[in-house]
């Protein structure tokens, strides 16, 4: 893998990831993740659900970021994405970024998880634009007001809550575009997303539960083949955003919502 992509996958990437536990903190609070065995199960389930969805969305975003450099390609090859979407935002690349972002919203019923995804998307966008300037990242930034700056559009926009697109683009969308900006393929974007879906949570568990970091590293190594398989599957999805995986994890959804209401929170999510 190229060094540029290693930089993007690195946990020391200054994009705020260290403050997100991927559900491990509320799971630990609930007594559901307590030791290495329960952490391993948690990571495997996270990978198969949220990890797969994130990886597929990141791959789609990467693919679109590569093609959106040329608007002609967008119209010819991907304009069809909008036929089913009422022409929201026009048929340009920026309108399509909004559609892809809405695809993340639709797969993220938990408001707490949407907020966490947008916070991480904003942070990643900042570092990615500084590091690998790319028109796709500019397009994402141009339409990303913060949480409180409610996007006011037509009547339909007013029906939607502040979370839609407001608050910055979703993390997998930015991750895919950043991977493209760093010269990566959709398969590589999916790999970084799938990898991050377990490493961030594992690192949080080490900090929260005082688990042996060597044992946790070994548990991640055991998962490595599964991470690759999820990435391969995610990248092999057809180029139809509506059909991308939408595997839910009701437990993660509930934990994310409970987390926001707990008295003491060390992690954002």
């Amino acid at each position: 893998m190229d060094t540029r992509l290693l930089l993007l996958a690195d946990s020391r990437l200054p994009a705020g990831g260290h403050a997100h536990s991927g559900g491990v903190e509320p799971a630990a609070t609930a007594g559901a993740v307590t030791d290495l065995a329960s952490l391993s199960d948690f990571l495997a389930a996270r990978l198969s659900t949220a990890g797969l969805v994130t990886a597929a969305l990141a791959a789609a975003s990467c693919s679109f970021a590569h093609s959106s450099r040329d608007h002609a390609v967008v119209r010819a090859g991907l304009g069809g994405q909008l036929h089913d979407h009422g022409g929201e935002g026009g048929r340009d690349g920026e309108g399509l970024w909004r559609v892809l972002d809405a695809e993340v919203d639709a797969r993220t019923p938990s408001p707490a998880q949407r907020t966490a995804s947008r916070a991480q998307g904003r942070a990643l966008l900042r570092v990615a634009r500084t590091t690998w300037p790319h028109p796709a990242l500019d397009a994402l930034a141009a339409h990303s007001p913060r949480d409180h700056a409610v996007v006011r559009g037509g009547p339909r926009e007013q029906l939607h809550d502040h979370g839609r697109w407001g608050g910055g683009p979703h993390h997998p969308v930015v991750l895919g575009a950043a991977a493209a900006a760093a010269g990566g393929t959709p398969r590589q974007a999916a790999a970084i997303a799938a990898y991050g879906s377990v490493t961030g949570a594992a690192s949080a568990a080490v900090r929260l539960l005082g688990l042996d970091p060597l044992a946790v590293q070994q548990a991640l190594a055991v998962l490595a083949d599964d991470v690759d398989a999820v990435a391969a599957r995610a990248a092999a999805e057809p180029d139809d955003w509506a059909a991308l995986p939408a595997v839910s994890a009701p437990g993660l959804d509930l934990l994310a919502e409970l987390h926001l209401r707990s008295e003491v929170r060390l992690f954002e999510s």
Binding site: A15, G16, A19, R126, A141, R146, A149, L266
Partner: protein
């Protein structure tokens, strides 16, 4: 927060102006939150202020700030650090930058944003990418050897505050020793001794902050090094 209108220290501020970002760091229990509250009380009538906290933020902490009448809730943002307070102010400042910029956008124009770190050890310092100036807060109960031990907070902060001087006698800490040792490692950089219990306004520290704002008007007019990458820039 009306003070900013009749006392605008930056009359010629270009539209991209931003507030001075002041970090307040130091070990657990040294009085960072109390100092933050004191500065807000002293400065809120003359400056437009906001605060980002990095502490374990419970309702109790929020109540503390509220009870002390520091600022309205929408001027205080809590950042969670995932058990790594130093990471959030030094290695990966993303969440703090985001919080600072959100506050600035919501309350524009601000003169001063205080970023209060979570309690940490003597090696914790703020990244220059996050703050323009930083205060490191020690308290005498840690012992009068602490300044001699040094560490980046003690040696490199723009202002070292030694708090709880009212306890010095009680615990046998020699303030003169602390002043001498701090001076030895800090050179010209100032050290202030305070007792927030006896001086809840932290008058001397507030005056130092005013001086920073007077003497260094430029940094908070210039775009921040990361502003170009900020998501709200078209």
């Amino acid at each position: 927060m009306g003070g900013m209108h009749d006392h605008d220290p930056h009359p010629a501020a270009p539209p991209v102006s931003r507030a001075l970002r002041l970090g307040i760091g130091g070990p657990v229990g040294s009085g960072k939150t109390a100092l933050t509250a004191a500065l807000c009380r002293s400065l809120r009538d003359e400056l437009a202020l906001a605060v980002v906290t990095n502490d374990i933020y419970t309702t109790e902490d929020a109540d503390f700030l509220r009870r002390n009448g520091v600022l309205s809730d929408d001027r205080i943002t809590a950042v969670r650090t995932g058990c790594c307070p130093h990471t959030a102010i030094r290695d990966d400042i993303a969440a703090n930058l985001d919080a600072v910029e959100s506050l600035e956008e919501l309350h524009r124009p601000l003169d001063l944003v205080i970023v209060e770190s979570g309690g940490d050890n003597l090696t914790a310092t703020f990244s220059r990418g996050l703050v323009d100036r930083q205060i490191f807060v020690l308290d005498v109960s840690g012992g009068d050897k602490v300044p001699r031990k040094g560490g980046p907070g003690v040696t490199a902060s723009d202002l070292l505050v030694v708090n709880k001087t009212d306890l010095a006698e009680l615990i046998g800490a020699d303030l003169a020793v602390m002043a001498r040792d701090a001076g030895a490692v800090r050179g010209e950089r100032p050290v202030l001794f305070t007792s927030l219990r006896e001086d809840p306004a932290a008058a001397a520290v507030a005056e130092w902050v005013r001086g920073v704002l007077r003497e260094h008007p430029h940094p908070h007019h210039a775009p921040h090094p990361h502003a170009a990458a900020s998501v709200n820039e078209p």
